[in-house]
Structure formats: structure tokens, C-alpha cells
């Protein structure tokens, strides 16, 4: 795996920035949520890449294997994934309510109608 070098991290940065870009640039609330998810997912890959050990395998103990990847980032990311889906669910629920209140899920439309 040493040949990978920092490639994983660079891809992570690309994903991170695409996600953030969607969040900022899109006026559609659902698209924003999708962007947030991509942003968070990139962080997951960052963590998992930290925990990768070349030549190691998944951290489930088996006789005969001594080199395992780092389980701690996995644990952290399990938690983070759950946090992510919780945020998504709540965000979408708010979007649904916004839709029924403003009859739109476009940020610019909402701000022009509500003022």
C-alpha cells in the first residue's frame, strides 16, 4: 500500500471541497443536504485512511494473522456515520416543513417571499 502515498488524502480533499462547494453554491435545500453528506463522507475516508496499515487486514482477530489495521478510526467513523444520518434526517424533516410553509425549497425564492 505504500505506493499510494498521499493519494487518498488528496482525493479526500477534492471530495471535501466538492461537498462544501455544493453546500455554499446551491440554493436548493435538498441539494445542500446532499452536499453536506458528501462533505462528511470525505471526512470518513480521511479517518479510515489514517487507520490503514499496509499488509494488514480488517481488525477481526484470526489465528495466524498478526498485522491488523487500526480499529480506532473505524469506531470513530461508525459513530460519525450515525451522526451524519441523524443530521440528514433532521435536515430533511425541516426541509419538508419549509416546503409546506413556503411552498418552495429554493433558498432564494424563500427569502424573496418571506421578506
Amino acid at each position: 500500500m505504500t505506493t499510494i502515498g498521499l493519494f487518498n488524502y488528496w482525493i479526500v480533499f477534492v471530495l471535501m471541497m466538492s461537498g462544501l462547494y455544493i453546500v455554499i453554491v446551491s440554493t436548493n435545500l435538498i441539494k445542500k443536504i446532499i452536499g453536506l453528506n458528501i462533505f462528511q463522507t470525505s471526512v470518513f475516508i480521511l479517518y479510515i485512511s489514517i487507520g490503514k496499515v499496509s499488509g494488514g487486514t480488517a481488525p477481526i482477530l484470526v489465528d495466524g494473522i498478526t498485522l491488523y489495521s487500526n480499529p480506532l478510526p473505524h469506531v470513530l467513523i461508525l459513530t460519525a456515520i450515525v451522526v451524519g444520518v441523524a443530521t440528514t434526517a433532521l435536515g430533511l424533516a425541516i426541509v419538508v416543513r419549509i416546503h409546506s410553509a413556503f411552498n418552495s425549497i429554493d433558498e432564494e425564492e424563500i427569502y424573496t417571499t418571506s421578506d
Binding site: 471535501m16 462544501l20 453546500v23 435545500l29 445542500k32 453536506l36 462533505f39 462528511q40 471526512v43 480521511l46 479517518y47 489514517i50 480506532l72 478510526p73 470513530l76 459513530t79 460519525a80 451522526v83 441523524a86 443530521t87 433532521l90 435536515g91 425541516i94 426541509v95 416543513r97 419549509i98 410553509a101 413556503f102 424563500i110 427569502y111 418571506s114
Partner: protein, 490 residues
């Protein structure tokens, strides 16, 4: 035996009460339960504060695993002080929450509101007490999610957009914190705060740690609404139900400021975060801009709640200035302002809650003549406002005193004058309200005074405002101890 487990119980009791609320499902009962639990955690927080003040820091190993392996609760004067603020604010505000929330929102399942409230309390307490950076993230999310929910319950439909905006900004902030924690973990291999503090100096020169630090600061600043990352706060505070605004104003940003302190002074050393990264300068400039620009913006608001929200951003500026000075007095000023601002803003928002209860509006034009119809409410508002201005014999004065003192200790005259000058801007926006309420006549002729259950918590806080303004020796000694402890690295 029980005293050894207090740190765990501090968080676990509200955490247990939250699902219990869902099981109980009866509005009044859940409110009573929430109230009881909140007061219990307030009592625990006070006990912890006293214990840590006299016996030094406490540590609690959750799951019985020693620190770097497991998660540790580390209580010292700094976070015990914040625990007291958070649980105290929650306890007082909850008294009025029932009437206020049922009046303002149209939720049928009010028990879920109290569940959300308890979860928010759990999250805030959890962030404060923990000694593990990832645990901070988890509890931050509990607090954030429940506060998005609480904000979205506001009476106006714009509460929903405010909550969404808050959710997006808050999630970006939390993810930044997660990135920061990840980068630190990458370089040190640990998540425990004390362990991090030991291992960071070895890798402090790497670009990764510096970037991690930057991400953490950005993320926490977003949560703390440090200028210019305050974008979400005015909307969220304006449209949330009044009781929620009072709770959040008194606790949420305070906890984030605490985190900032913890990261600046304990995990990274003061020299790294303030001198090497030049944050002292950046924070100072941002703080000064914040106190002026946000106070000016507040002056031009027609909605009183929004006005106070902008004022909150300005007040965060004072705390940031205190931190950036990085002297004992400066930090004391920052920490004591944490407490004092919680007292005054919470009282002001509760007073606004009383007004909303009767008038269904906090627009300045609708407040005309309310001073005559609701004398107690407006009297509370005026005293709270005076505290915000920094009139002596109120808590606001104590904060200002220490901030000016800290500036003078560094011989920064200009800063001392800026601090006092900006507090004069508060005179203008508070007095706009006072004049409208007392000297204009409006269509509020048949309005009555707010019910007692709303007035009592407001006045409890107002009395606290005066009490801790007249006798600040205790708060100052706690804050000074906390500042000293933060400045002496592990």
C-alpha cells in the same frame, strides 16, 4: 460513594431522563421530570465546582478503562464553572418554559420538546465535562441536533429557515471540528486531551497539526458565533421560541467559548495557539470589530429579539478580546463575562418571553406603552439592559471592569477606550426599547402583566444580576482560579 460518581451522573441523569420522557408521554409530567432533572444536575454541578475548587481536579474513567484507552471525564474549576452556568440557566428557564412554549408553538406533542430540551442539556454538559476530543464531537452533535429542533419550533415560519441555516452552518462547524480532531489524531495517535497536550509539543511544528488547529478553531468559532462566523445566530435567536432563545443564549455559545479556551490553553499551549499561530492578534482585531459592528447593527434592528441576538455576537467579542489578551486578568475577564453574560442575556430573553406571551410580538413598534401595562416585565428588561450596558452594581460592570483592567495592564489604552465606547452603543439600543415602552402610547391598553410563572424566573435572574454585581468576590475567585489553571500548562 455517590460523590465519586458525580461526574458521570452529571451527564447521565439528563441522558436517562430524555428517553424516559418519551416513555412517559404526558406533557405536564415530562415537564416536571425535566425540571427535576435539571435542578438535580444543577446541584451536582455546584457540588463539583465546590469540590474541584477545594480539592483540585477530578477524573472519572468511564467504563473503568484508564485514560488514553477509554474515555475520561476530567473536571476542574474551568469546566465545573461552565457546568454550573449551563445547568443553572436550564433550571431557571425551564420553570417558565412550559407556559411559554405551549403558548408560542403549536406542537401537539409537547413532551417531545422537553425531551429535546433534556437532550440539549445532556449534550452541552457532555461537551463541557469530557476529557476526550472525540467525545466532544459526539456530545456536540447531541446538543446541536436538539437545538436545531428547538429552534425550528418557533412560532414564525421563518423559524424553519433559521433552523435549516443553523443546521447547515452547525454541521459544517462540527465537521470542521471532526477534521481537526482527525488531523491531530493522525499526528499523535490519541484522543485524550491530557495525552494530546503531552504529545503535541513533539509534533507542533508540522503543518498537519497547524492545519488541524486551524480547523478546530474555525469549527468551534462557528459554533460559538465568533464574528464573522456568526451568520446563523441572529436568525436562530430571533425565531426560536423565547424560552429556547433564553436557554441557548445562556448556554450554547458559552460552552463553545469554553471549548475554545480548553483547546487554546490546555491542549495546545498558550504559546502555540496565541503566539506561534498569531491568534492573539487575529482574535483581538476580530473582537474589536465585533463589538462595534454588531452593536451598530443591533441599533438598527426593529425586532427586539434580533437586536439582542446581535448584541450577543458583540458580547462574544468581549470574551474573545479577553482570551486574546492571554493574561490572568484578561482570561478572568473572559471567563467571568461568560457567566455574567449568561445571566443578563438569559434574563433579557426571558423578559422578552413575557412580552411575547402577552403581545405575540417583539417588534419595537408593538412595544409602545408596554412599560405601563407590564411594569414588572419591563422593569426586569430595564435592569437587564443596564447590566448589558455595564452600569455599576450589575454583573455587566464587573466584566467591563476586568476587561478594562486587563487592557490597562498591557498598557493598551486604545483597547480600554474601545471597550467602554462600545458599551455605550448598548445604551443606544437598550434605550430605544425603554423609550418606546414607557413614553409611547400604543394599542396595548388591555394587556395584562405576564403570569407569575414567567415572571419568577426572570426576576430570579435579575436578582442574580444584581447580587453577583454587588458581590462578585466569589465569581471572580472562581474565574481567577480557572484562568490561572488554564495559563499554567499541564
Amino acid at each position: 460513594m455517590i460523590s465519586a460518581h458525580l461526574p458521570a451522573l452529571q451527564v447521565v441523569i439528563p441522558l436517562l431522563a430524555a428517553p424516559a420522557c418519551v416513555v412517559v408521554r404526558q406533557s405536564t409530567l415530562t415537564w416536571l421530570l425535566a425540571l427535576l432533572v435539571s435542578w438535580i444536575s444543577f446541584a451536582i454541578a455546584l457540588t463539583l465546582l465546590v469540590q474541584t475548587f477545594f480539592n483540585g481536579p477530578m477524573s472519572y474513567e468511564l467504563g473503568g478503562w484508564a485514560a488514553p484507552l477509554g474515555i475520561e471525564y476530567a473536571v476542574d474549576v474551568v469546566n465545573a464553572f461552565v457546568l454550573v452556568i449551563v445547568s443553572g440557566v436550564s433550571s431557571v428557564v425551564l420553570i417558565s418554559a412550559k407556559e411559554s412554549i405551549e403558548r408560542e408553538t403549536h406542537i401537539k406533542r409537547t413532551h417531545l420538546v422537553y425531551t429535546g430540551w433534556l437532550l440539549c442539556l445532556t449534550g452541552l454538559l457532555g461537551i463541557t465535562i469530557t476529557g476526550d476530543v472525540f467525545n466532544v464531537f459526539v456530545f456536540l452533535e447531541i446538543a446541536s441536533l436538539s437545538s436545531y429542533l428547538l429552534v425550528s419550533l418557533g412560532p414564525d415560519r421563518r423559524a424553519l429557515t433559521a433552523a435549516f441555516q443553523y443546521l447547515v452552518m452547525g454541521t459544517i462547524g462540527a465537521t470542521f471540528i471532526l477534521i481537526g480532531v482527525g488531523l491531530l489524531y493522525m499526528m499523535t495517535g490519541t484522543l485524550n486531551m491530557a495525552d494530546l497536550a503531552q504529545r503535541i509539543p513533539g509534533v507542533a511544528q508540522t503543518t498537519t497539526v497547524r492545519a488541524g488547529f486551524a480547523f478546530l478553531v474555525l469549527g468551534i468559532s462557528l459554533k460559538a458565533a465568533v464574528f464573522p462566523l456568526h451568520y446563523w445566530l441572529p436568525n436562530a435567536y430571533t425565531f426560536a421560541p423565547s424560552a429556547v432563545t433564553a436557554f441557548m443564549a445562556g448556554s450554547a455559545t458559552k460552552v463553545s467559548i469554553y471549548l475554545l479556551l480548553r483547546f487554546f490553553f490546555d491542549i495546545f499551549s498558550e504559546t502555540f495557539s496565541l503566539r506561534t499561530m498569531r491568534l492573539d492578534l487575529i482574535l483581538l482585531i476580530l473582537g474589536v470589530i465585533a463589538i462595534f459592528s454588531m452593536s451598530l447593527v443591533a441599533i438598527y434592528q426593529s425586532n427586539v429579539k434580533r437586536m439582542l441576538a446581535y448584541s450577543s455576537v458583540a458580547q462574544v467579542g468581549y470574551m474573545v478580546i479577553g482570551i486574546s489578551l492571554a493574561t490572568t486578568t484578561g482570561l478572568t475577564a473572559g471567563i467571568v463575562h461568560l457567566f455574567n453574560h449568561a445571566l443578563m442575556k438569559c434574563a433579557l430573553f426571558l423578559a422578552l418571553g413575557c412580552i411575547v406571551f402577552r403581545l405575540n410580538s417583539v417588534d419595537l413598534k408593538d412595544l409602545a406603552g408596554v412599560g405601563r401595562r407590564m411594569p414588572w416585565t419591563m422593569a426586569a428588561f430595564v435592569i437587564g439592559g443596564l447590566s448589558l450596558i455595564g452600569v455599576p452594581a450589575t454583573v455587566g460592570f464587573i466584566s467591563k471592569w476586568y476587561l478594562v483592567l486587563a487592557a490597562l495592564e498591557r498598557d493598551w489604552w486604545w483597547l480600554a477606550f474601545m471597550v467602554v465606547a462600545s458599551s455605550l452603543l448598548a445604551v443606544i439600543y437598550i434605550w430605544r426599547v425603554v423609550e418606546t415602552a414607557y413614553f409611547k402610547t400604543g394599542p396595548v391598553a388591555n394587556t395584562e402583566e405576564a403570569p407569575l410563572i414567567l415572571l419568577v424566573p426572570t426576576w430570579v435572574l435579575i436578582v442574580a444580576n444584581i447580587y453577583f454585581g454587588v458581590s462578585a468576590v466569589d465569581t471572580i475567585s472562581f474565574a481567577t482560579r480557572a484562568a490561572d489553571q488554564l495559563l499554567s500548562t499541564f
